[in-house]
Point group: C2
Chain length 160, copies 2
């Protein structure tokens, strides 16, 4: 199996990132780290709050948002905009510039290296006479697991 990175590893990585930056790894933040790490994909602040409250009743909405902000500033999570306009967060690797490919069905997301895109972006800038400071590529589709599941169980709509 490829994914040798467990949710546990991710949790620790997040906590370490907090500590390295001089923030306290409080119980609430550890909880958020665990919740974030246990989703393989994107999640909304509301979902995280709900899941958080299943474990710790008195966790405040603000705490979730503040923790998420913090993690975003550490580039441990990234906030992205779904095609619907809704906001979501994804766990990601803080070390390199990359993009996200997210499955519209199950929400799983994978990091995509910038790769050739940088060159392409450069060229676009040159042609348009712009100095490009930032670019963002968001990819949406269906992962192989969801695709095969869909093939096996056609679901309502397909059968007459």
């Amino acid at each position: 199996m490829r994914p040798s990175i467990t949710a546990d590893d991710s949790t620790k990585r997040i906590i370490r990132a907090l500590e390295r930056a001089g923030y306290q790894a409080t119980p609430n933040r550890r909880l958020v780290a665990r919740l974030v790490a246990s989703t393989g994909g994107h999640f909304t602040a509301a979902e995280l709050l709900e899941r958080g409250r299943q474990e710790r009743v008195n966790i405040g909405r603000a705490t979730i948002f503040r923790a998420l902000d913090l993690l975003a500033s550490l580039r441990v999570v990234e906030r992205l905009d779904l095609p619907t306009g809704a906001h979501a967060y994804v766990l990601c690797d803080p070390d390199e510039h990359h993009h996200h490919l997210v499955c519209s069905t199950c929400g799983h997301s994978v990091d995509v290296a910038d790769g050739e895109l940088a060159r392409l972006v450069d060229e676009i800038g040159r042609r348009a006479g712009y100095r490009i400071d930032a670019h963002r590529l968001e990819l949406f589709g269906m992962c192989s697991a969801c695709a095969s599941e869909q093939a096996a169980v056609p679901g309502p709509g397909s059968p007459a």
Copy 2:
């Protein structure tokens, strides 16, 4: 000069798009069309409302949002997410898949053809085992006009 497309042309194009789709080209919608066409770049709903009220006092917030929704459904404008998280709209060409390069300073935006990106996206999907349904590339930078203006007038901050 290259830009043979005037704001007036764009206004007409928007109005025609409305009519072709079977919507009424009401005075309010014509106004919105004119306002949209007269910005060379992105704008927020609030800006449009404000500008609209300079011309027609009794135009409702909802009317602006509804008109913008309508135009977005006709692909005449597109809603995009600025790096700040704010929403903006841009006038664009409904006929081909493309992306936007917007100047963070003046807001001007240019359409960027998808070009090589399609191939790149394909490859990313293949590698990740995803069937990619949609992708969105957003580019932010500074246009040549703003760049030279900035060079001429360094502004506060640079001089001691």
